[in-house]
Amino acid sequence: MYRSNILVCGGTGCTSSNSMKIVEVLKEEIKKNGLEKEVNVTTTGCFGLCALGPIMVVYPEGSFYSMVQVADIPEIVEEHLLKGRIVTRLLYQETVEEDTIKSLNKTAFYAKQKRVALRNCGVIDPEKIDDYIAMDGYAALGKVLTEMTPDEVIQTILDSGLRGRGGAGFPTGLKWKFAAANDADQKYVCCNADEGDPGAFMDRSVLEGDPHAVLEAMAIAGYAIGASKGYIYVRAEYPIAVKRLKIAIDQAHEYGLLGEDIFGTGFDFDIQLRLGAGAFVCGEETSLMTSIEGKRGEPRPRPPFPAVKGLYKKPTILNNVETYANIAQIILKGADWFASMGTEKSKGTKVFALGGKIEHTGLVEVPMGTTLREIVEEIGGGIPNGKKFKAAQTGGPSGGCIPAEHLDIPIDYDNLLAIGSMMGSGGLIVMDETTCMVDIAKFFLEFTVDESCGKCTPCRIGTKRLLEMLDKITKGQGTLEMIDEMEELCYYIKANSLCGLGQTAPNPVLSTLRYFRDEYVAHVVDKKCPAGVCKDLLEFTIDKEKCVGCGLCARNCPANAIAQTDYIAPNKKRAAYAIDASKCVKCGACLDNCRPGAIFKG
């Protein structure tokens, strides 16, 4: 029996900042102090506060150590574990309040969160099935197999109001109902773990922190629709998630929670992994299934929908990782419990991956209907360096930008659609005043042009033409007619593309045009980039009256574009410098190094 438990984050963020080495040294130090029978060290999934990693929590005290360094470990072991003196200096400082230490759940980052899909992330060891079972794992599967009919399971999911967490928000229960209604000798349950939006890592964190939750839910889905086989399509770029999924599947087999005759009920279910090579289009359902079949990942027209003809032309359901992570809880706690959270049409919670210009980069889970302001300013800790909020991008390359005027809108599927963005899988990128909206639209377009599979013309050629126009605008070669032309092309691509990739690809352009048209106009008419990002429209100049002639700019210029002039300003000792615009590469190194503030860009 251990008296103390130490949880060290083993998510991708903390692992890359060396948390595995911390575990190793921690175990060594504990042994050195003779505490190995008293203190247990566990590697868990993501805690969410990735900005402060590596993270380590010591229970029963609940002390939250952030940005732990290997060199700090001997001190923590000797002071805290041996002598019981919490090393306050190394704690997450928001938990320290004068003399006392606040509970983690009372800090700004965690107080407003409600963890359902992430309930076990940062709590259990994802590589131990016993840990998952201790948190009521596989109890929901036991319940549906022994007490419920497939129809009752589907009805419960329908009643809960759960909608697909992959982005489009289709009611999950309805999907199951359609697939259950189709008779076939074989049906399939698939899990979409091909998370491809730039800046999104919700699904990865669930798989890394709580892989059994997905396996259990897939088995429940299999029972509900009458399928005996499941596939998880996960990207090969997620090595930790893949490794933990493999371990989880093996352990579930060992316990007989996957395989034949589960719980002695005669229900068989098995899950296989399929690794995706990283094509964005394979996150689209028909492409994903084509890819599982071993063919080139390309979409096909719908109907027939997967519920009728999916994988290997058999009825199939495909749900996102986060959708599955909610299922077992709904079965155990009831549809009413789930429906009590969220807004009228969007129930439950949503996980967001916070990134960009924000203090607390990381993973947050909030009830639907939480406002963007609460997420950005309270949970996210606001914008660093005193900059002003400009926009938040949701939904990745399929979504749009939400400007400051809509900060107070309660986030749910329908509200986001109404303001020209979309929920998407949950990437939330915050932008401040130094971000150029035309440049952002161009960034996402570059992504979709790269990722377009090329099967249909509107997407293959349309997005390319759109990108070319954006490129011209950022270079100051645009016209006002071009902006109108672009808008028209956007609607054309949306209306005519074969799959979701093309149908949503113009969204970043449309939403920035809707809220930041003045920035486009500034690029076209004034030939200026208001945020100072588009290099072709920038010019760096030195105010010769302010220049003290120190020469720091010239020494830092990588292009040798700065030289001293003959002019000496009144009250200055040395001659001023000047920039040769024809040589300038617009890197901004001179500006960053100028102490008297004599250099301007614009």
Binding site: M1, Y2, R3, S4, N5, L7, E38, N40, T42, Y59, P60, E61, G62, L82, K83, G84, R85, S103, N105, V123, I124, D130, D131, I133, A134, M135, D136, Y138, A139, G142, T146, Y255, G256, L257, D261, I262, F263, G264
Partner: protein, 123 residues
């Protein structure tokens, strides 16, 4: 896995390890003084005795055992403080592993302070 009972058995066994990872604001707290003076006087066996006794009775969810620093009465070490929510804190002194079972049984379970072990009996 052929029955729900099997799952239940695994859950019960695994649960003890997990409960230590949650904060229970209503839990009774046992603080063992573990500064140099406490350790020298034998606080570590006392701490382990508490952990084991509580585990034996399956009370991990309701009682939290933790260490604390020196509280200034070094001549009475090992010192143990027991705090039950809503009740006054009780300080036990000169604790030994043998005394632990009585404190857990009489005080933490049956809510009767073991007066002869408290600091009042020694001053």
């Amino acid at each position: 896995m052929k029955s729900l009972a099997e799952l239940q058995a695994i859950r019960d066994k695994a649960k003890a390890n997990i409960t230590l990872r949650k904060e229970n604001p209503n839990a009774a707290r046992v603080y063992v003084g573990m500064a140099t003076c406490g350790i020298a006087a034998g606080a570590r066996p006392v701490l382990n005795a508490f952990t084991e006794e509580i585990a034996k009775r399956g009370l991990q969810e309701d009682i939290m055992v933790t260490q604390t620093g020196c509280i200034g009465i070094c001549q009475y070490e090992p010192v143990v403080e027991v705090e039950i929510p809503g009740e006054e804190k009780v300080t036990y002194v000169k604790m030994t592993p043998e005394r632990v079972a009585r404190v857990v049984n009489d005080h933490l379970v049956n809510r009767n302070v073991v007066t002869e072990f408290t600091i009042g009996a020694y001053t």
